[in-house]
């Protein structure tokens, strides 16, 4: 197909009189289909990130780790239920609220693996500017990523509770008490999911290197928990029990433990059972909400400059 206009052959661009700077019409057409808009793009980003957190829609190798961790997370619940049904227990051997605290290492590993997966690759391959060249705004990107990771964590932490609950009902335990415990457990893991997702994303968004993001996330969670429980243990051993509830403010896991001890009827995992009371618990709740708000603010700040 010949273009509409050509320059003279032999002396291109030198002959005066012929048009040199013509825009050739080579037949591009404008898009006149439906434009689905910002809300649709935000929903797509959310569902793509949520599916990506379990490796769905990605390569088989990316599915291995999240699925194994999901299995490891549910396995103890299945075992507990099997035992409870077999020996006809009157109540579950573990509180709903305690489950996530016991398996915090698994939750930490999942978060460390998936938070950088969610944001670091966008930074490393410079896809963030491409997102922002669409109708998606900064707030949409941050909210979609935050909500997706929090939902993924909620699926990870709430499914075993559901297994426990269904098992408890099958074992004909007191339905009222079980429903109450299950509801308290769900509130607790919902809070945990949002808190952990916020902290994980802020750390992961700071580095385009995936491996380093993984190490940094796990460092924040294990080191803070290790430090807090070590000092709490020493405080208990030396009789300074008054400081134990206050020390719990310095690590994400103990924050959740404190909130659910104060407000959700949970038994604390703190050394000596020195959980916070209602007044200290209010401080815990405030700190949790402040950290969530702070991580949202930090993410918004992080993406103010879209490039890197």
């Amino acid at each position: 197909m010949r273009p509409d206009t050509t320059t003279t052959p032999g002396a291109p661009g030198t002959t005066p009189g012929t048009a040199q700077d013509v825009i050739h019409n080579i037949g591009y057409r404008t898009y006149d289909g439906p434009r689905l808009g910002r809300a649709y793009a935000r929903r797509s980003l959310f569902s793509q990130s949520l599916r990506g957190a379990y490796g769905l829609g990605r390569s088989a190798r990316s599915k291995v780790l999240p699925m194994i961790l999901f299995g490891v997370m549910c396995l103890p619940a299945a075992i507990i239920v099997a035992v409870a049904v077999t020996v006809k227990m009157k109540q579950l051997p573990m509180e709903y609220t305690r489950y996530a605290i016991y398996l915090q290492a698994v939750i930490g590993l999942y978060l460390a693996a998936q938070a950088p997966q969610s944001v670091s690759r966008d930074l490393r391959f410079r896809t963030v500017p491409l997102y922002f060249s669409r109708p998606v705004e900064r707030i949409d990107y941050v909210l979609a990523k935050f909500a997706a990771l929090a939902s993924a964590l909620f699926v990870l932490t709430a499914t075993p509770l559901l297994v426990l609950y269904v098992g408890a009902l099958l074992a004909k335990m007191d339905a009222g008490a079980q429903t109450e415990g299950f509801a308290q457990g769900l509130v607790s893991v919902a809070l945990l999911s949002v808190l952990f997702a916020g902290i994980g994303l802020v750390i992961a968004a700071l580095t385009p290197r995936r491996g380093f993001g993984v190490a940094a996330v796990i460092a924040v969670f294990t080191i803070s928990y290790g430090a807090v429980s070590t000092v709490q243990g020493i405080a208990l051993g030396t009789g300074h029990t008054g400081v134990i509830p206050w020390l719990g403010l310095f690590s994400p896991v103990t924050l959740i433990d404190g909130v659910q001890t104060a407000f959700l009827d949970a038994t604390t995992a703190f050394p000596g059972g020195e959980g916070p009371g209602a007044a200290t618990g209010a401080v815990y709740l405030l700190v949790v909400l402040a950290v969530i708000a702070g991580s949202y603010w930090a993410l918004m700040r992080r993406y103010r400059k879209a490039g890197l």
Binding site: R61, A113, T222, A227, V231, G237, T238
Partner: protein, 243 residues
């Protein structure tokens, strides 16, 4: 054929990779936290051997040392393989075993500096080296750093998820399963290192689950084998794209 053990340019690049910009922050933050913790504990309780054991054994050697080992060991080679820039290094006339050994030496240097030295300082802060605890745990941290660096460097050449694999080993195998199943403790770098500490400290001050001869043998054999295999892996490396 003999290889040079150390290649200064490779070493410099690895140092820059490990301690460049933000990466150094986490490596400095962990020991700093340990020292702050020690000062706080010392003010709370005074000098006390049991407290020192709890902090040095439970926190420093069990949590901080493996974490720094993971960061230094996998960080020495993982990111380069991950982003493909290792090709430029491998296309230079430097023998691959030299590359691995140099990176291992750098990783060992970094992890010993950031884990054994702070442990020693923490020990002196906590109880002034009574029962030789500070020296014993610092020695344990040092030998554990060597072993962790070699093992995690190998992981970095084997899998793209080296950091996760290393963390699973350190957190799930050593901490979780090691606490439940005694057999898991035999295959635990931490216990091998504690066996060395047991001998160094005063009698009965530190307890390990593994005998000293076995521990020393494993502490020599495992890093050597890991390094040999890592060098082999690097010779047959295929650079894959991001999944």
């Amino acid at each position: 054929m003999s290889y040079a053990i150390y290649h200064p340019t490779v070493a410099r690049l690895t140092y820059r990779g490990l301690l460049g910009r933000r990466r150094a922050a986490i490596l400095f933050a962990l020991p700093a936290l340990l020292l702050v913790l020690c000062v706080a504990v010392r003010m709370l309780t005074g000098a006390d051997d049991d407290t020192a054991r709890t902090v040095l054994g439970g926190f420093a050697v069990a949590t901080m040392v493996p974490l720094i080992g993971v960061i230094a060991g996998t960080g020495a080679i993982g990111p380069e393989i991950d982003d493909g820039s290792v090709v430029y290094l491998l296309s230079k006339p430097v023998p691959r075993p030299t590359v691995i050994v140099t990176k291992l030496l750098v990783a060992i240097g970094v992890s010993v500096t950031f884990s054994a030295l702070p442990t020693l300082m923490a020990g002196f802060l906590l109880n002034g080296n009574s029962q030789n605890l500070a020296v014993a745990y610092a020695l344990a941290a040092a030998v554990a750093s060597v072993a962790y660096s070699a093992v995690f460097l190998l992981l970095g050449t084997v899998t793209r998820h080296a950091v996760i694999a290393g963390l699973v080993y350190a957190l799930v195998w050593e901490s979780l399963l090691g606490g439940l199943i005694s057999g898991a403790r035999t295959l635990s770098v931490k216990e091998w290192a504690l066996a060395v500490a047991e001998r160094t400290a005063a009698d009965g001050a530190v307890s390990a689950q593994v005998g000293l001869p076995l521990a020393v043998t494993l502490l020599v054999v495992v890093p050597a084998a890991a390094t040999w295999y890592a060098a082999r892996r690097l010779r047959a490396l295929t650079v894959a794209g991001e999944e």
